[in-house]
Symmetry: C2
Subunit: 126 residues, 2 copies
């Protein structure tokens, strides 16, 4: 079993990924206690580098996340929390913090396609 | 347009994600030149922290990646390269570097399900 390698600040990067759509929502960081609480409570716990404190994601906004699994990479220095989000992951109100494209064209997710089909159906109903 | 915030070592974390299956393959790092080369060549360029050098992923193994898009997060300190992989992303031969579960149960990807269905069909043929 690979053990988690925390960096010189005691942190490990965590990719928050929607368990259903597979969309990457946020890149954040956890310390040992945040990881332990996540595994224990099945809620997203992180460590805020800007506020320098433990952070129960969504505790303030209500946009909590249920953690379905925690995965670790081959060299133990990165994690994925697979989550079922209760609302947008981004403070801007967007589903994902990654909502801007620097280069190329973002491929559509299943939920993008479902959204487009729903919009088309609604449009044809009127 | 959000500009990329490189950290004190001149690096930004990059999530490599399969453009088709949406599976997260690797968490790696890029410096400014790696990012510029990625956008320019549409191949995955990174910066290896252990070897301290630019790294054209797959140049040695042949497991290159075609980069379909580069996305940036809301505060500019993380990127996603959406890629079409030409082989496994992990040096172990696994599709993804995240192939170990610390807690909970990993949700199935579309390709997991297709793999299981193919296996079942093959099994029934014999």
């Amino acid at each position: 079993m690979t053990s988690v390698k925390f960096d010189e600040n005691g942190l490990v990067p965590v990719i928050l990924q929607d368990a259903g759509t597979k969309q990457v929502l946020t890149l954040a960081y956890a310390n040992e206690e945040a990881l332990a609480r996540t595994i224990d409570t099945k809620e997203t716990w992180l460590f805020s580098r800007s506020r320098n404190e433990l952070w129960n994601k969504g505790a303030t906004s209500g946009n909590t996340q249920r953690v379905q699994s925690v995965q670790i990479d081959c060299d133990g220095d990165a994690l994925i929390y697979e989550v079922i989000p209760n609302g947008p992951a981004c403070h801007t109100g967007e589903t994902s913090c990654f909502h801007e494209t620097l280069s190329g064209e973002r491929s559509k997710t299943a939920s993008d396609m479902i959204g487009q089909l729903s919009a088309l159906i609604k449009q044809r109903e009127t």
